[in-house]
């Protein structure tokens, strides 16, 4: 079940990209959820660049990568790394494609035939709709004062908690979007995602949700 929880957390990070409205006063947790739900309802599409920093024991050094994330309601997704290895996946409803330019591999999948991708898709789309009840049933949430505008999520489930220590989500100063997500594993490995150039409700072509061709 660790897989499920991990993907849930990751999906949470991605979906917290959904912007929140600007507030003059610090928000309570409840207010933040209300804002998130409201914003998610108004979000038809989202595009963002991101930088991923992986501190994993399996690598000799910090692994930096850059990428782009696209979402279009109701069920189109693109998660793509551009540097150093062009790779990623697109999802169109229940079916998708993934690619890896390094190994020159590209294949199709369906959420039913690939349990891991199925869980990612399920969680991403669930988060796009901001299912607060579900979120609260799985995590203990704490609004942090430092760094400012940050949420800390601690898994409630023992199995998940044995694997993930915590997840920290930081919103932009204007509360329009998630600026940073840090996921810390129990073993000390961590993944940091920093989002920039977030665009809401821009028109995304259907080609954006197609896998690229290798030359």
């Amino acid at each position: 079940m660790r897989i499920t929880y991990l993907i849930t957390l990751l999906s949470l990070c991605l979906q917290l990209l959904v912007p929140v409205t600007t507030q003059a006063e610090p928000l309570t947790l409840q207010q933040l959820f209300e804002e998130l739900t409201l914003s998610a309802a108004e979000t038809k599409s989202l595009a963002s660049d991101f930088v991923q920093e992986k501190n994993l024991a399996i690598f000799s050094a910090k692994l930096l990568s850059q990428g782009r994330f696209l979402y279009q309601a109701p069920d189109l997704l693109r998660w793509e790394l551009l540097e150093p290895v062009a790779s990623g996946f697109v999802l169109r409803g229940n079916k998708g494609e993934r690619w890896n330019s390094l190994s020159q591999e590209r294949d199709s999948f369906s959420v039913e035939s690939d349990p891991i991708m199925g869980l990612i898709a399920q969680q991403l789309l669930a988060w796009a709709r901001v299912d607060v009840d579900w979120l609260q049933s799985r995590y203990q949430m704490e609004l942090l004062s430092e760094p400012l505008n940050s949420l800390r999520l601690t898994p409630l489930d023992k199995g998940e908690a044995g694997f993930i220590d915590y997840l920290q989500v930081q919103f932009s100063a204007d509360h329009h979007h998630v600026a940073q997500v840090l996921m810390v594993e129990q073993g000390g490995d961590s993944t940091l995602l920093q989002f920039s150039d977030v665009q809401l409700n821009t028109e995304l072509s259907s080609a954006s949700f197609q896998a690229p061709e290798f030359r």
């Binding site: 993934r98 890896n100 990612i120 996921m183």
Partner: protein, 790 residues
């Protein structure tokens, strides 16, 4: 024949003794009926002795799903997978446990099963020589670099978090070789496992498999089962429907359709027989004629149950139907005594000859069934012989005392019987012969087209909704119930496993592995596993150092830590372990083992499912014959074999019956022309029956074979009576007796043509065709060819 006249005279004033005898018979038969044990299995109608058909039939019952209840749930377009799976679980949970035991909607969450976590550790025991060749070809610098590049890309993706530990333990993705072994374990061709459920490829169907204590032959239990299922279906939300597929709905549908058919047929035949009674008999005492078959059946049951012990239900059913023909003997005696001219004892003496010989020829025909390869037909022979002998005795010794005296008022009518229509219209003779010839020629042209079909399912009623449910199941899940089976059986598990491997290799040579289901790829014999371990170690002895160097080179290139893949090399250094049955059960594959590894007493039977393709079956039959303890069973071949056995049985029966009948007719008539004349009704009846069936596009089945015996028995009787009628100076009103007998048979058995049950319809049609031809041939054609000598 004077014996019968003397006996008649002797008992004329001592009828009380006869009544006493009959009463004793009734009491004894009644007691026997209360003790009667009826066996309901179809096995009695499958060849025994050297034939393998019955053995094959029993083996086919061991196929996975053969005895399972399969519930097929279907979701309309728009229903989400989650909703379907929820509905599946809800339905599974509300099925009553006393009727649906061990309901299973899937193998459960595979992520939580130790199988996927631990399977890779057993690669050394699983990798065969072809796998090792592929692994070796992957251990090049390019191959290793390619694998690590793929690992890097995966680790950077969201799914990388999940795969991190797996990649450290298996950077070259060697686990795929173990996962391939699981492919061949799936007996459901179209299945995917989603959230631990069986789900179809299109995501719109799911399955529940269950056992049940209700026997497939138990119609009452089957009704309870189906009612419970219907009740449970109410739990399904809108847009989701479910079909239950098992033997029970067939049993129930057949039982119900037979009950409905019997009501209709009994009504029609009852009205028909009443009309015949009013038209031709019109006397209360004539009812004794109708009681004669009932007594014969009771005696037949008594004798055959004492002889055979347990009787087959099919034997009893058919026997009772066939003994309906014994009414003939009674009718001939009745018409001769009441409408013949002369003293009663003389008339009885005169009619006793054709009755006796008619009975003997029928007896000879049935006796030939004793040579049948089908135990049920041999039982039927004993049943029929006992019934016919008792019918002859009853007709000639008892019946004359209970049918009363002829009415002088019928004198004019009697004269009418003696004047044949040809005396009135002589030219009609040639018209009748011309029509008869035309019918015979047309039938002779069609008859060779008749085919024999040994498909047992054809004998059962298949309601359209059940046929559609089966079709839907096959469309979605593939042919889960129709594959051929290979059994590898021996008292030693290791030998059975070794044979199973050899079978798997043979399937590989035929490129049939991808469509087959076998335990062999996952569970090899201990000896084979040991050989694989040795080969595995030899490979890594040769390749380990170069592989490690190349992995380190590529790892550095992609930024992996120096110790990133230490777990992989540690794994290589571990002592490899073997796979056994306990491990498979630990992995949650116990249910699969139950399907593919059967234990009967001290014998293990490993089962391989293969596509039932005639070419493949033919090739494998020869190749597998060299493997001891290995048996191939195919449904299509079973049907072919059964057809061949029935065909050979029927041909043998026809030949011997023809010889026996011919011998008796020669003994009776001693003139070839009379013999040929007496054979006309039976030959015409059979020819029209075969030709008519071929013309209607019908095929000969087990029940038609039995019905053909009826045509032979009656047809010969008609011939004998009509030829005797032509020879004897006494008027025995034979034409009328034959006519009434034929009409009784037609309304009695021909009414079965109204039935919807295929077996009953089949008998009805056979009898209708055969008797419709035999009666006019006897009553019209024989007198047209041979004028009565007065």
């Amino acid at each position: 024949m004077k014996l019968f006249a003397r006996c008649y005279n002797g008992f004329e004033n001592r009828r009380g003794w006869l009544v006493l005898c009959l009463l004793l018979l009734v009491v004894f038969c009644g007691w026997n009926l209360s003790q009667l044990k009826i066996e309901e299995s179809i096995v009695a109608m499958l060849p025994d002795g050297e034939s393998r058909v019955a053995d094959d039939f029993l083996l086919l019952q061991k196929a996975p799903f053969a005895r399972k209840i399969v519930i097929h749930l279907r979701a309309n377009v728009g229903v989400k997978t989650e909703q379907l799976l929820d509905a599946t679980d809800r339905l599974r949970d509300v099925l009553p446990a006393e009727l649906f035991s061990h309901p299973l909607s899937g193998p459960g969450e595979m992520q939580s099963s130790p199988l996927l976590r631990e399977l890779g550790d057993y690669l050394p025991s699983l990798a065969d020589s072809a796998d090792l060749q592929q692994i070796a070809s992957q251990l090049t610098s390019e191959g290793i670099d390619h694998s690590l590049a793929a690992d890097l890309a995966q680790l950077m993706q969201p799914q990388g978090i999940v795969l991190k530990d797996k990649i450290r333990r298996d950077p070259l993705d060697l686990q795929k070789f173990t996962l391939q072994k699981l492919r061949y374990l799936n007996p459901l061709p179209g299945v995917r496992l989603v959230q631990g459920h069986f789900l179809s490829a299109d995501g719109r169907s799911s399955l529940i498999l269950a056992d049940t204590p209700i026997l497939i032959t138990d119609a009452t239990g089957g009704r309870r089962l189906l009612d419970a299922f219907t009740q449970a279906q109410h739990e399904l939300p809108a847009g989701i429907t479910a079909d239950l597929i098992s033997g029970h709905p067939y049993t129930l549908a057949n039982t119900e359709i037979i009950q409905q058919d019997m009501k209709l047929v009994l009504l029609v035949s009852g009205v028909g027989i009443l009309l015949l009674f009013l038209l031709f008999l019109r006397r209360l005492r004539a009812l004794a004629v109708y009681l004669l078959p009932l007594f014969s059946i009771a005696v037949a049951l008594l004798v055959s149950s004492l002889w055979c012990g347990q009787l087959s239900g099919i034997t009893v059913g058919f026997g009772a139907v066939l003994l309906g023909i014994t009414i003939d003997f009674g009718l001939h005696v009745y018409f001769a005594l009441l409408h013949g001219r002369g003293k009663r004892a003389e008339l009885l003496q005169a009619v006793s000859k054709p009755v006796l010989f008619g009975g003997l020829t029928t007896l000879a025909a049935f006796a030939m069934l004793l040579l049948s390869a089908l135990p049920g037909q041999r039982q039927l022979a004993i049943f029929a012989i006992a019934g016919i002998i008792s019918a002859i005795i009853l007709a000639l010794f008892f019946l004359p005392h209970f049918i009363g005296q002829g009415n002088p008022a019928h004198e004019l009518a009697r004269r009418g019987y003696t004047r044949h229509i040809y005396d009135v219209v002589p030219k009609l003779r040639w018209t009748v012969i011309a029509i008869w010839l035309l019918v015979v020629i047309l039938s002779a042209i069609q008859a060779p087209q008749l085919k024999i079909n040994g498909e047992l399912r054809q004998l059962s009623y298949l309601p359209p909704e059940l046929a559609q449910a089966e079709q839907r199941l096959a469309e979605v899940w593939g042919n889960m119930r129709g594959r051929a089976l290979i059994f590898s059986g021996t008292s030693d598990l290791q030998t059975a496993l070794h044979s199973n491997e050899q079978i798997w290799q043979l399937l590989g040579q035929h490129q049939a592995q991808s469509e087959s289901v076998s335990l062999a790829p996952l569970l090899a014999s201990a000896q084979t596993q040991q050989e694989r371990l040795v080969a595995w170690q030899a490979l890594w002895l040769q390749q380990r150092d170069t592989t490690q160097q190349q992995v380190q080179l590529s790892a550095a290139k992609y930024g992996f830590a120096a110790d990133a893949f230490t777990p992989f090399f540690n794994r290589l250094d571990q002592s490899p372990k073997q796979i056994d049955m306990a491990l498979l059960e630990h992995w949650g594959l116990g249910g699969l083992l139950d399907n593919l590894l059967l234990k009967q007493g001290e014998e293990y039977q490993l089962l391989t499912l293969i596509p039932d393709q005639p070419e493949l079956i033919k090739s494998l039959e020869t190749e597998l014959s060299d493997l001891p303890g290995v048996t191939l069973v195919s449904q299509t071949r079973f049907g072919r074999q059964l057809s061949a056995e029935i065909s050979s049985d029927f041909n043998r029966f026809i030949l011997f019956a023809a010889l026996a009948v011919l011998a008796l007719l020669l003994l009776l008539f001693r003139r070839l022309s009379d013999v040929l004349l007496a054979l006309l009704p039976v030959l015409t009846g059979l020819l029209v029956m075969f030709g008519g069936m071929a013309w209607l596009g019908l095929e000969m089945n087990l029940f038609n074979v039995v019905a053909a015996i009826l045509i032979i028995g009656l047809g010969v009787d008609y011939g004998i009576f009509m030829v005797c009628h032509g020879q004897q100076p006494e008027s025995l009103a034979s034409s009328r007796a034959v006519l009434v007998s034929g009409l009784t048979t037609l309304v009695g058995f021909g009414a079965l043509v109204l039935a919807r049950h295929p077996a009953m319809y089949s008998i009805g049609l056979t009898v209708l065709l055969g008797i419709s031809a035999a009666v006019p041939t006897a009553v019209l054609v024989i007198p047209a060819i041979r004028v009565k000598r007065c």
